[in-house]
Symmetry: C2
Subunit: 190 residues, 2 copies
DNA sequence: GCATTTAGTATCGAGTCGATACCAATCGGC
DNA sequence: GCCGATTGGTATCGACTCGATACTAAATGC
């Protein structure tokens, strides 16, 4: 029974967010999925700003995402840059216009206002939702797209010096806060 | 900053649910919004099973919802019944087939599985999400569509005997658990 | 080297969704 | 009562999402 109620709650919240997002994108002629793509590209690292990564993130098919990107490029909100190593790969970079739109539209004003009344800045809620999301992603065999610094491959080498255990690349403090498509959550301590 | 993270979390959860829902509806040729409509109609009371109420619940326009209902009626998942009092109003009733589809499809299997691992049956999460939803609905000047028994018009008249302070109608125990479009949350105690 | 896999694009059709226009019934003044 | 305003619902249209399928090109594996 509790499962049904939780499901209904999440569905309703999702719809509300979507409606808000639709309204927020309307002045710019953007749909919810466009804003979501822009937001992802703004917060992902340099290995995860490709159509394929975005496809996994959004949970859509690559054909659908390809169309979305075409539209965003036409509107001048992002540009494509060929990868120097792998000539099949394309990197998606937000333009200044893209950043500006995002800054104006997300999160929607009403969402921010509704959240100010939340107890304890919503820390507990954030933790609970993260747990739920990880659980759902695990059940779906989906990537988690967490922040680099919370990944099990993340290694501390000194004050302000980090490294990725997977690519062996050094990481800056800013890097550690970006989303990574290779992210794997640290298994919870028992 | 915490607002951004919370927003991202909710957006992602919403997308995941939507993807699940899409998959769950596919075998029946139904879209997410169709399942949502069926679920609402299953759990709302007899004053709230109209196109207008569903429109408010889903946050769409009445034209859009009218189309959705046309499709569901064609598929034999619901039937329409004219109101005896107000001849403009139509009541939407799930058919057996509609109930069957819903029972099979929602909540999606993976969601149920993901939730079993949640601490404390998710009671705390449910409470937090309810608070967030109410807050968002208030900010949006939207109706809350809560269960009748949690409404400020709900009156206890004795063991198992209730009454709605708005319509003055007597309510059964089952009535008290159904969603109502006139629902207004009890203001939180200070 | 050659089959397989992976990254991305192109095209098509089904369907959502909002906007606009419309009709019928009810309600509110008076 | 009566007439304008409001409410409940439908119809139609166009923009857009999304999945499915088919395709190209580059990389990978054996």
């Amino acid at each position: 029974m509790a499962v049904d109620r939780l499901y209904a709650l999440l569905e309703r919240l999702g719809n509300l967010l979507r409606t808000e997002e639709r309204a927020a994108g309307l002045p710019h002629g953007l749909q919810p999925v466009h804003l979501q793509a822009l937001r992802y590209l703004q917060s992902c690292n340099r290995y995860s700003n490709t159509p394929a990564a975005l496809t996994e993130y959004l949970g859509l098919t690559k054909g659908t995402v390809s169309q979305t990107l075409l539209l965003l490029e036409e509107k001048g909100l992002l540009r494509k840059q060929a990868d120097t190593q792998d000539r099949r790969v394309i990197h998606l970079l937000l333009t200044e216009a893209g950043r500006a739109v995002l800054k104006e539209a997300l999160p929607p004003e009403l969402f921010k206002r509704a959240l100010t009344g939340l107890p304890g800045e919503g820390e507990a809620l954030e933790e609970a939702l993260t747990g739920l999301l990880r659980s759902l992603q695990a059940a779906n065999a989906q990537r988690s797209f967490g922040a680099c610094g919370t990944c099990k491959h993340f290694k501390r080498e000194g004050p302000g010096r980090f490294r990725c255990g997977l690519t062996q690349e050094p990481l800056s403090r800013e890097d550690s806060q970006l989303l990574c498509r290779e992210h794997e959550a640290v298994p919870p301590a028992h």
